[in-house]
């Protein structure tokens, strides 16, 4: 398996002087193609910062980051924009659909911005929505869709251009747990079917367990990096499911 992203001793500081915040204090990380990896950690530990760097929304202050064969620091803003447009999909916590556009137009926009000229964009946008189960909702505006449906549109939008990487910062945080789990299952199906690499963050253990690799961030550093075997995963899922059942029972 080839390396998608390689991060060496990356540091990121916000602000300057006494108000400066060390968001990342030397992160080393290699992500292979096809991974389905979660970044977990307490609030403020640097999850979003790390995702933004990997997604090329931001650049690091120190260290080296290689993504898809590019030394990211050497790319111009235009080069970064092009990389994002063509190779990286995003899913956001608050869905971030364009409110005036319909579901299909939102997906189509991703193709347009990617400069995609391969065939009928409208058709491909419709197909992408079909794949996430929204074939009947093509002409709905975001405010006519539930949160889960909106996030599915966002998934379709991220995937329609067949990117190498999808970055998702807390994609389930604004969804109830069942809907969140469903969206995550959808992401994992896409990961399996299309081989697209997913990197996402969460602090919900139920979501975390669905990942195959769990990175634990604390105070801007990777504290734990756990790659699970299949049996690990099943055991974990079972344990969490029982936990939740008990938890739910306790609520009654």
């Amino acid at each position: 398996m080839s390396v998608l992203c390689d991060i060496k001793d990356v540091k990121k500081v916000y602000g300057s002087g006494p108000a400066a915040v060390q968001a990342l204090r030397g992160v080393n990380l290699t992500i292979d193609e096809g991974e389905f990896t979660v970044i977990s950690g307490p609030s403020g530990s640097g999850k979003s910062t790390l995702l933004n760097l990997v997604g090329c929304l931001d650049v690091c202050d120190e260290g080296v980051m290689t993504l898809l064969g590019h030394d990211v620091k050497k790319l111009s803003p235009k080069g970064l924009a092009q990389l994002r447009a063509e190779r990286i999909g995003f899913i956001f916590q608050s869905f971030n659909l364009i409110p005036v556009l319909t579901a299909r137009e939102n997906v189509e926009l991703a193709l347009q911005l990617a400069g995609d000229t391969k065939g009928d964009r409208v058709k491909r946008a419709s197909e992408a929505l079909d794949r996430v189960g929204l074939g009947d909702y093509l002409h709905r505006r975001p405010n006519q869709l539930s949160g889960g449906q909106q996030q599915r549109v966002a998934v379709a939008r991220a995937l329609v251009k067949e990117p190498a990487l999808v970055v998702a910062d807390e994609p389930t945080a604004n969804l109830d747990s069942n809907t969140g789990a469903a969206v995550l299952d959808l992401m994992r199906d896409m990961n399996k079917q299309l081989g697209i690499t997913f990197l996402f963050s969460t602090h919900d253990p139920l979501i975390m367990v669905r990942a195959r690799r769990i990175l634990l961030l604390r105070d801007g550093q990777i504290e734990d990096d756990e790659i699970k075997t299949r049996s690990d995963l099943t055991r974990e899922v079972e344990r969490k499911a029982v936990q939740e059942m008990l938890h739910n029972l306790a609520d009654y």
Partner: protein
């Protein structure tokens, strides 16, 4: 295409704000068009008043003829010799003679000074069209018909067609002379120059009052094409006696046309102020949109839109505002101009000093070029106004914008 659709849809998001800032463009563009229509109308008006009322296109008169006040000396009258008459027949569309003199009209105890215009009844209307004249009674065609009084004179002396008045004036040799004549009618020509002090009579009758034989004071010509005026005047100048001079309508209108520059400057100021207002409105609209949509812009940036791309989107929104506003403003402005181009506006007689060539009905003049340019001006203003806010909109880093 998607970008255009996005821009259009974005404008519908805060419809009231959009309509408000668009109205300022509509207003600005309409005012430019109406203002230019008025200015062009004034120019036409002045030319029409001078050409149709007093000078024709090119006029021959005594050298150093007085131009100020009510002065029409009769000691410099002259005849038109045969060769000149023949040349004028061959080189003009029409020509005629007039004799202007200052006299007095007396009715019972009342008297008032008048500008008397003696005409050749057979030819005068070919040089000075009567289109805008309103006549109660008839225009005199012979000495027996008497005088046609302007509304100003008839009004002040309380005279009606059929009445009898005394016209008195100095003869060419300086003696006083007076004749009792009938009033053939009352006219208004729409030019205060004529309508306040004017009376019209035939050359025959004037000859009796002035003792002036065949001599006249003015020769007026009408050319087939007004554009030939200066060339014609130059050729005519070689054919007139030493003691005569030539005036063209262009010279006659100069004082009024000079006024045009002042009007144009005033309009430009108004336009500048209005456009400043619309520009502020549009800049504000685009800026508010920029602040409201920070997260959305961040999303677009994450999806690969560049900073110039964001600027383009916002300028496009401003441009759409300006384009629609410009078109509506152009429609509104030209509708108003076209209406008053046909209808005319009665001017208050403030302008009517009595010797400036103006007509008291102003017909606006429409111009396709002015209309199109004004609409484009609205569009360009909107684009320029939205540029800086668009730059601000594109400023937040994508990561920050997404977080907001």
């Amino acid at each position: 295409m998607m970008l255009l659709r996005l821009a259009v849809l974005n404008l519908t998001r805060s419809l009231r704000r959009t309509v408000l800032s668009m109205s300022s463009v509509i207003l600005g563009v309409a005012v430019v068009i109406i203002g230019q229509g008025v200015i062009a109308g004034f120019e036409d008006n002045a030319i029409r008043a001078a050409v149709d009322g007093m000078t024709g296109h090119v006029q021959i008169r005594a050298r150093d003829y007085p131009t100020e006040g009510l002065a029409h000396p009769v000691d410099t009258l002259a005849t038109v010799d045969g060769p000149l008459a023949a040349w004028l027949d061959a080189n003009t569309q029409a020509w005629t003679t007039r004799t202007l003199f200052v006299g007095e009209v007396v009715n019972a105890g009342d008297a008032m000074p008048v500008r008397a215009i003696a005409i050749d009844p057979a030819r005068d209307s070919e040089v000075f069209p009567r289109g805008s004249w309103k006549i109660d009674g008839t225009e005199p065609v012979s000495a027996q018909d008497g005088v046609l009084l302007s509304t100003g004179v008839a009004g002040l002396l309380d005279l009606k067609p059929g009445a009898t008045v005394v016209v008195q004036a100095n003869t060419t040799s300086g003696a006083k002379n007076a004749l009792e004549v009938p009033v053939s009618g009352v006219f208004s020509a729409g030019t205060p120059m004529l309508d306040r002090f004017g009376i019209v009579l035939t050359q025959d009758l004037a000859r009796q009052i002035l003792q002036s034989d065949e001599r006249i004071s003015h020769v007026s010509t009408r050319l087939a094409d007004r554009g030939d005026t200066e060339a014609f005047a130059a050729r005519l100048a070689e054919r007139i006696p030493e003691d005569r001079e030539i005036v063209t309508w262009i010279e006659e209108c100069a004082p009024v046309l000079a006024f045009q520059a002042v009007r144009q400057a005033a309009l430009n100021l108004v336009v500048l102020a209005l456009m400043g207002m619309s520009a502020t409105g549009i800049a504000n609209t685009v800026l508010m949109a920029a602040y409201e949509r920070v997260r959305e812009i961040g999303t677009l940036r994450a999806m690969g839109m560049t900073r110039p791309g964001v600027i383009q989107l916002f300028v496009l929104e401003g441009a759409l505002l300006g384009a629609v506003g410009g078109l509506l403003g152009a429609a509104l402005g030209s509708a108003i101009v076209l209406w008053y181009e046909g209808q005319g506006i009665e001017l208050p007689l403030v302008m009517a000093t009595g010797h400036l060539p103006v007509s008291n009905v102003l017909y606006l003049r429409s111009s396709f070029a002015v209309t199109a340019l004004s609409a484009v001006f609205g569009l360009v203003t909107a684009m320029v106004a939205s540029f800086y806010p668009a730059v601000i909109a594109s400023r937040p880093a994508p990561a920050e914008a997404v977080r907001a």
